[in-house]
Subunit: 344 residues, 2 copies
DNA sequence: TTGAAAGCGGTACCAG
DNA sequence: CTGGTACCGCTTTCAA
């Protein structure tokens, strides 16, 4: 359609090379600048309608796709929000939160990217993220050190937000104190007259981030009372649960907080198979308020967890990016409330 | 420590600007080329030990982090493997698969990035991915059209791999035919003497990718026999299950394949509450072989699903990247086997 | 309205 | 052994 002057013969067979804006310009018979103006709808400059058409046609014909790296290199910044992808299998709560967040951020014209950071630890990981020059970094779970945060900010990240138990110097923090979960669970059991309370602690690695605070919270709730807390390590396997249930009478517990609903289900089944009556002999409470708890018999009491909405976090990010000088925000965002059903 | 000549006063207060290799070079008193050689351990060139020290020291002092975009712009390629992040909440099977895959790919020195593609459809999404110029793209679930694949390849992607029900022109395919799941489930129920077989189809949007083939597979297994298949739409809520169970006797079914173990648990509970005996009145089988199935009473029969190992997929990707000219590979990778327990 | 050209941060060739 | 320099693809003044 468009004549290309002075084109070597080698240009005819579909080259393996990626089309650039220069190719589009050549094909449309204009300069690269014009191509840029047209494709970005630059308002500061007016391009004639025929030219626009030619450029668009040429771009489509070549299948031109702009090169994000080149663009952001030139611009000096990107709109990429980076978060490390979770290394431990993650429940529906968190999945949904991430999804909401991605949605909200794309509404604000950010690109969300999860970076697979496996085997890199602490500041190593922070450096790997910094190489991508994201405009913001969201770190769930175990946070980077202040060093890591510094590296990120020095590399141009205008906001670093941690989602975890503790705040980090220089970073915004959405504090999710899982101790609260253990605390309300234990308090609930205590209020029900239970005094010998077990707390299940998963043996699976990676879960300490949650299990440790939940245990500590339970301990705190019972501190200074006449109740006794017993730590119960448990792997997420039937046999492990059966073994634990087999020595249940020697433990003499009248209640158990089972880390979450899945471990609760596992343990409850083993206890029932062992003839332990729930809640008469032993009260059971889980956490996370998963669907499955409602389907158990007796229905499982649980701790419902309220996470911040993705929209809220997205807005925090946007605010921080627009105003990088501001003081880091700290928000306590984890709501925990007992849902009393039949197992306690 | 190192004297910086001809530096304007404005350089002293910690600038908001990101340190570049030029800054490192200046501070170390060498050229940018030397900095590049040292930091990349370029073997083609030998740099004296004192110089290396100075460069490393300067880099550390400035907190220098290389700019990935600039690097890959110059190099003309990256080692980024891109996959769209899942838009529907995803089970433990898939999570674990992704994790394995990330691990295996990082062993091969690729960087895995999940791109949050929400609201972008089909070829729009493909264009967005192409802007990042990934060396490979892995697309689970609903595949891009041949158009999308073409865009990606033209933008320099040396491998496009789909993980889903069907192969796409030009892309490698790991074919995961979930029809097999429904097929073996239905065949199992039929072999157990059941002739009026229900198939649960989740009403949640996004699950059709899996539920449709599973249903079709069941239908196929029963085709030409004396068995009758009934489609049972069901939302993942207690009330919906209760409503379905309430009209169970009017349906006159003697067996049900419940899409997966979670829906099976939901339905089984509702049926039991309704007084339906399992498996005597109605046999139930789920799928995915989740832990929870083993904890139900009766123990839930299920279809165990065998996914490819992350390592295998990583190797496929690596092979394809090294040899982009090769014919696209097609592999049937979904293994399905009935685990017969007590509910059927 | 359009074009020429500088430059973002690195890398790698070629001189010295 | 080290420095100068061209260039990757794109945006954006500044001139014409």
């Amino acid at each position: 359609m468009v004549q290309i002057p002075n084109t070597p013969a080698s240009a005819l067979p579909a080259q393996r090379s990626v089309p650039t804006s220069a190719d589009v310009a050549r094909l449309a018979g204009v300069s690269r600048a014009t191509v840029s103006y047209v494709l970005n709808n630059t308002s500061a400059v007016r391009i004639s309608e025929p030219t626009r058409r030619r450029v668009h046609a040429a771009a489509k014909e070549l299948g031109y796709v702009p090169h994000a790296a080149a663009r952001s290199l030139r611009a000096g910044h990107s709109r990429m929000v980076l978060m490390p992808s979770p290394t431990i299998p993650v429940g529906p709560l968190y999945s949904q939160f991430i999804n909401e967040l991605q949605w909200a951020l794309s509404r604000l014209d950010y690109t969300v990217v999860q970076h697979g950071t496996l085997g890199l630890h602490g500041d190593e990981a922070a450096r790997a993220w910094a190489e991508l020059r994201p405009v913001a970094v969201l770190v769930p779970g175990s946070s980077p050190g202040p060093q890591g945060v510094a590296v990120l900010k020095r590399s141009g990240a205008r906001a670093v937000v941690t989602l975890g138990p503790e705040a980090v110097e220089g970073a915004h923090a959405l504090l999710m104190d899982h101790a609260t979960v253990g605390q309300v669970a234990a308090a609930h059991l205590y209020a029900g007259g239970r005094r010998r309370i077990g707390v299940v602690v998963p043996e699976e690695p990676g879960l300490e981030i949650y299990s440790r605070p939940r245990l500590d919270g339970a301990r705190r709730a019972l501190h200074g009372t006449d109740a006794v807390l017993t730590e119960l390590p448990l792997a997420h396997e039937e046999e492990a649960a059966a073994r634990l249930a087999a020595r249940w009478h020697t433990l003499g517990l009248d209640a158990v907080f089972a880390y979450n609903d899945e471990y609760a289900m596992l343990l409850m089944r083993a206890l029932q198979d062992e003839g332990v009556r729930i809640p008469e002999d032993t009260a059971v409470i889980g956490a996370d308020d998963l669907m499955l708890g409602r389907l158990l018999r007796p229905r499982l009491s649980t701790v419902h967890i309220e996470l911040p909405s993705g929209r809220e976090l997205a807005e925090l990010v946007d605010r921080a990016v627009r105003n990088p000088g501001a003081e880091p925000e700290r928000h306590e965002v984890l709501g925990a409330a007992v849902v009393h059903r039949d197992s306690s």
